[in-house]
Amino acid sequence: MKAIIMGCGRVGAQIASMLDSEGHDVTVIDIDPGSFRRLPPTFQGRAMVGNGIDQDVLKRAGIHGIDAFAAVTQGDNRNVMAAQIAKHIFNVPKVVCRIYDPIREEVYHSLGLETVSPTTLGARVIKEALES
């Protein structure tokens, strides 16, 4: 599949390298060119500097006709906005959005966005570990 990962932090870089090593066509976008050092030397995909909430940047990254889009920058609002642009303006079939704030996650989940809250997930896993 063709995928765009917005945000090349620890999570973004890891998703990108996992998809890439499985043979998928991956483009990573980040506003900080220094972030691309997190990609492994074996990475075959594209790394592009730009702001993922800018529709022109998304077009240049080839968002028309991709299969999947993940918004995993540090900013919840940026992720929410980029994910909604990908879903509603560019009709990307699979859009996943990271939202740290559990309340905002709930709001956007109820709006039909596919959301992941590392806060909720992390808290649950750690609590389970403490109790086991």
Binding site: D76, M81, H88, I103, R104, V107
Partner: protein, 220 residues
């Protein structure tokens, strides 16, 4: 009316002050403590220190009883989220968002934000009015009906000079209403109206036919 202004920069401050002068109940939300202090000294206790994107701040600010929320921070993504969460979680009846990148207007409208204001677009429109060479000028957008009023100036050498309006192949749902000629002055357009160099043509069209209308009037 209870109006909440998210963002206490220059826009938020002057907007808040103007609304206060009009007798509205207002509250400005601002993250920066220093800005909060300045606003509180100038306007009194109408300021809340906090992140307007956080639901807890929204609760404290009383989003649930707000008649209007105006998001004027410098970040489009924050303005979008403030308005969306305000609508969805607090049922705020009307939301207005400031947009910095004019291209974001479509997604804001799509996500149900009632009104968007783009300073960039406003300035661009003024530049277009000052630059007579610009081929098509937006005069008015009637968003709810998908209609717009535009102005097209007939440039020198245009293939439509000397043609009558009935001879133009206009796109559907388009109407030429007024032709302003340098010598003859404004004329209500009819099929017989002949186009001349430098004429300013006012037309009503649907947004999707804008390009076709321009091509028809300019003969390109």
């Amino acid at each position: 009316m209870y109006v909440i202004v998210a963002g206490g920069g220059k826009v938020g401050f002057y907007l808040g002050r103007a609304l206060l002068e009009e007798g509205h109940e207002i509250l400005i939300i601002e993250k920066d403590a220093k800005k909060c202090q300045n606003i509180s000294e100038e306007l009194g206790g109408v300021i809340l220190h906090g992140d307007g994107c956080e639901v807890s701040t929204m609760n404290e600010a009383g989003f649930a009883r707000a008649d209007l929320v105006i998001a004027v921070t410098g970040d489009d993504e924050d303005n979008l989220v403030i308005c969306q969460v305000g609508k969805l979680r607090f049922n705020v009846p009307r939301t207005i968002a400031r947009i910095n990148n004019p291209k974001n207007e479509a997604i804001f409208k799509r996500m149900g934000i009632d009104i968007t204001v783009s300073a960039t677009n406003l300035i661009l429109e003024h530049i277009q009015q000052e630059l007579p060479s610009h081929p098509l000028l937006h005069l008015l957008d009637l968003h709810n009906f998908g209609l717009e009023v535009v102005e097209v100036k007939i440039p020198r050498g245009s293939r439509t000079i000397g043609k009558r309006i009935r001879d133009l192949s206009l796109p559907p749902d388009s109407l030429l209403s007024l032709v302003v000629n340098k010598v003859r002055g404004p004329q209500i357009a009819s099929g017989d109206t002949m186009l001349d160099e430098d004429d300013e043509v006012l037309a009503v069209t649907k947004a999707e036919h804008e390009a076709a209308l321009r091509a028809a009037i300019l003969g390109t």
